[in-house]
């Protein structure tokens, strides 16, 4: 063995290389304050390893980027761990960069003759930030997509060449395949290669000048191996432990680790767009600048600060210069901390942002359900959300219905409109509660009550509905106790059976049959039956007499079923529904067939859900 190694050494000289690497002198002995550079080398190695394996499973295109990341996270063995380590190590790297910079400045390690190495370090910092910026886009989820739009638009305000720079980054004027392929090549090719090159120079120059010992007499001298290596290893393990802790914060497994939002969709604006937390200070800083002054916040001032950092070695040579540098760095970090805090606080007290975050979380959770239920088609996962009534229903309700109606008091998406409603609250449409309300208190605010504030075709509605035929019938029969409670319950059961609402508990068949009987024939005390006004076209001898009575209310055949609701929304003024007394616009021409279906499915809770666990 020794002979073989000697043979190799004669030809390569590796032994002196190893000796040089391992027996670097550590003046004043190994110390914890020297570990930061090593932890950065360690984290970068972790990123190279995990990144390489992620690369083997990642597919950069708009139809496959999110999908392949989803596959890594949910289908591949320990994919969640791999992604989680890569994601959180990237964040650890930024923290360690800041600590390393602080330690170098405080110890005066940037001063002559180490100026060049300090500059190399600052370049490395830019490269790492570039890696983090490009990596943020690659999962192609809503967060990365919209944040990257902001970042590239900032590049676009560069004087003179801005638009060209932006187009080159984006790979055109639209964000798409080319954006992903370019960002991926930068993230996995160009930037890591640059980083390796600069890191080699950084370490080579570091070795040339040796450690900057603040107190070389502190202890006896030591060598890098094993004293300092041991401390470095412990520090690296601590970094890894912190990373793993973050990965497991939401519980280990495919649902923990790094976040994966809903797939990017340029048609679905994402109000929760924020950069990664360590860029929040820049994000907040931009809010202070108006209009064309934005360039000062985005480029001039950050550029000036970076420029100042580059000048530190010279300033450090002056009298009190070092103290000034340290003070400057601490002020800078305090400013960054303050801005970050401001950004967080502002979001925390912004109900709109909170709603946006909740919407984003709901979609991120929903897409997992849809992928599991339906699988991802060739066009990609975003189509699943576009075709999902649970996701699209609230948006459609807000757009088409919330001008008059409410959904549990809000506009479908959770926002409570400032205007007063002028029509019913449809959250319970088709449920027993809804039908019972219609039969016992049709003029309440959930049903016809709010129509008092409404108008249609230039006419105020007044008490057209609150004191209409239905309300009168309720007063005469239900409130006057002519109709028994059990009859009300029976009719509720019968009509609930007409509805296709998915979350209605199973019917009581006997009660429903009694309700049908009452609907058609009333009782001894109630002579004006439901059937006197409401059509019910069931193949049943009870309804053989044919048409309903004169004061025709809406046809209740299949009341609140998908078909009934589709027909009703399309044209509520047709004769079988409200006829001349109608006060709701027809939506047949305004809603596409697909949107109408989505809206109806959502109102009736008929979206797909996974089977409950047994």
């Amino acid at each position: 063995m020794n002979a073989l190694l000697n043979w190799l050494d004669v030809r390569t000289g590796y032994k002196s290389l190893v000796r040089e690497a391992l027996y670097e002198n550590v003046p004043g002995g190994a110390r914890w304050r020297y570990v930061w550079g090593s932890t950065l080398v360690f984290t970068f190695s972790v990123q190279m390893i995990t990144g390489l394996f992620l690369w083997m499973a990642y597919s950069p295109s708009t139809q496959t980027a999110w999908e392949s990341v989803y596959y890594i996270q949910h289908e591949m063995t320990f994919g969640w761990l791999l992604r989680g380590i890569h994601h959180f190590t990237a964040q650890a790297m930024v923290v360690l960069l800041a600590v390393h910079l602080m330690q170098v400045v405080i110890d005066g390690a940037y001063k002559a003759p180490r100026e060049v190495n300090f500059w190399l370090g600052l370049v490395l910092m830019q490269i790492v930030l570039g890696l983090s910026l490009t990596g943020y886009l690659l999962p192609w989820d809503q967060k990365g997509y919209w944040a990257t739009r902001v970042a590239t638009n900032i590049a676009g305000i560069t004087p003179v060449i801005g638009p060209q720079v932006q187009q080159l980054l984006v790979g055109g004027t639209n964000y798409g395949h080319q954006t992903l392929t370019r960002f991926f090549a930068m993230h996995a090719g160009l930037l890591p290669a640059l980083l390796v090159a600069f890191l080699v120079m950084h370490i080579a120059v570091f070795r040339r000048h040796g450690l900057t010992a603040p107190d070389a007499e502190w202890k006896a001298n030591a060598t890098f191996w094993p004293d300092q290596v041991l401390k470095d290893a412990v520090a690296c393990l601590a970094v890894l432990a912190a990373v793993l802790l973050c990965v497991c914060l939401h519980g280990p497994g495919p649902h923990g680790g790094a976040e994966l939002g809903a797939p990017a969709d340029h048609t679905d604006k994402y109000d929760a767009a924020r950069p990664e937390w360590y860029f929040l200070f820049l994000f907040q800083f931009l809010k202070f600048f108006e209009g064309t002054n934005e360039i000062y916040g985005a480029m001039v001032i950050p550029g000036a600060i970076m420029g100042f950092l580059f000048l530190m070695p010279f300033i450090g040579g002056w009298k009190l210069g070092h103290r000034f540098n340290v003070l400057f760095l601490f002020t800078l970090l305090a400013g960054v901390g303050w801005l970050t805090w401001q950004a967080v606080q502002e979001d925390r007290h912004n109900p709109d942002h909170e709603l946006a975050v909740r919407d984003a979380e709901a979609k991120a959770a929903r897409i997992k359900v849809l992928v599991a239920l339906k699988g991802i088609g060739p066009v990609g996962a975003k189509q699943l959300l576009r075709d999902d009534s649970k996701t699209q229903g609230p948006v459609l309700f807000k757009k088409y219905c919330a001008g008059c109606h409410r959904y549990d008091g809000h506009d479908g998406t959770g926002t409570r409109p400032a205007d007063v409603a002028t029509a019913s609250d449809l959250a319970l449409l088709g449920t027993r509660d809804w039908i019972r309300g219609m039969m016992t208190s049709p003029a309440d605010d959930r049903h016809f009550g709010m129509t008092r504030h409404g108008s249609f075709d230039g006419q105020t509605l007044g008490d057209r509905f609150t004191d209409g035929e239905m309300a009168k019938w309720v007063a005469e029969n239900v409130h006057a106790r002519l109709m028994k409670d059990e009859d009300v319950a029976a009719v509720v059961e019968f009509l609930a059976g007409q509805s296709g609402r998915a979350d209605v508990a199973p019917l009581n068949a006997k009660q429903a049959a009694a309700g049908k009987q009452f609907f058609a024939e009333g009782s001894d005390a109630v002579s004006t039956t439901c059937y006197s006004c409401h059509e019910m076209r069931l193949k049943d001898e009870l309804f053989e007499s044919g048409s309903a009575g004169v004061a025709a209310g809406p046809d209740l055949t299949g009341y609140c079923s998908e078909t009934w609701l589709r027909e009703f929304i399309s044209n509520p003024g047709q004769k079988k529904f409200y006829g001349k007394r109608n006060a709701m616009p027809a939506f047949a021409d305004r809603l596409s067939e697909k949107d109408l279906n989505l809206l109806v499915e959502w109102l009736l809770h008929r979206w797909p859900e996974p089977a409950p666990p047994k």
Binding site: T50, S68, E75, L240
Partner: protein
């Protein structure tokens, strides 16, 4: 005490730590062991997660589509005594993508009796090219390495193929031919289903 850079060890054997500077105390086994062990753990964890993902194809099983594996191919009366190739249409899963009603493979079907057929996977058991039926030679020929198979699927020697064409299970249901479609691992003498 000599602490300048030039004092770095230069002439000592690599096996002696801290040599060349008498002020540096010799270190025992423990710190060296700990340095390697702790550093090793820190390195192994990310490596493990990467390798686990890399090896995940070995841990994954083909998702069953809930059926019995038989697919309807064609009406029995459309078959003749000349082998014809038919596509098997089913839902196909390619990693994360689900492709509905896609061709998942092809079979050669030949009628040899009123309710008796032969069914072969078109894939050559040698190294996976698709064989073609040659009417004039009454045999299946592989375009890649010239393996040849008789009408009954038997390999005609000399051929590089290690086994006969892969016969598939079939059934006649209501006048239609149903085939249990399977791929088999190429290059082996035994017929091993690819699951």
């Amino acid at each position: 005490m000599n602490t300048t850079d030039s004092s770095a060890p230069q002439d000592c054997p690599a096996s002696v730590e801290g040599c060349g500077d008498s002020s540096i105390p010799r270190r025992g086994f423990l710190p060296r062991f700990l340095a390697v062990a702790i550093g090793g753990v820190a390195g192994i964890v990310p490596m493990f997660s990467g390798l686990a993902v890399f090896f995940s194809p070995l841990f994954q099983r083909k998702a069953a589509d809930g059926g019995d594996g038989f697919y309807r191919v064609v009406g029995l009366d459309e078959l003749t005594d000349v082998p014809q190739s038919f596509k098997i249409v089913a839902d196909r899963r390619d990693a994360w993508t689900v492709l509905r009603n896609e061709s998942v493979g092809s079979v050669y079907l030949q009628k040899i009796g009123p309710a008796e057929i032969r069914a072969f996977n078109v894939i050559c058991p040698h190294f996976g090219c698709a064989v073609a039926f040659r009417g004039e030679k009454k045999s299946f020929l592989c375009p890649c390495h010239n393996s040849a198979f008789a009408l009954d699927g038997a390999v005609i020697s000399p051929s590089p193929s290690p086994r006969n064409l892969d016969a598939l299970e079939w059934q006649i249901r209501d006048g239609s031919v149903w085939v249990k479609f399977q791929d088999f691992i190429a290059g082996h003498k035994e017929k091993i289903a690819n699951t």
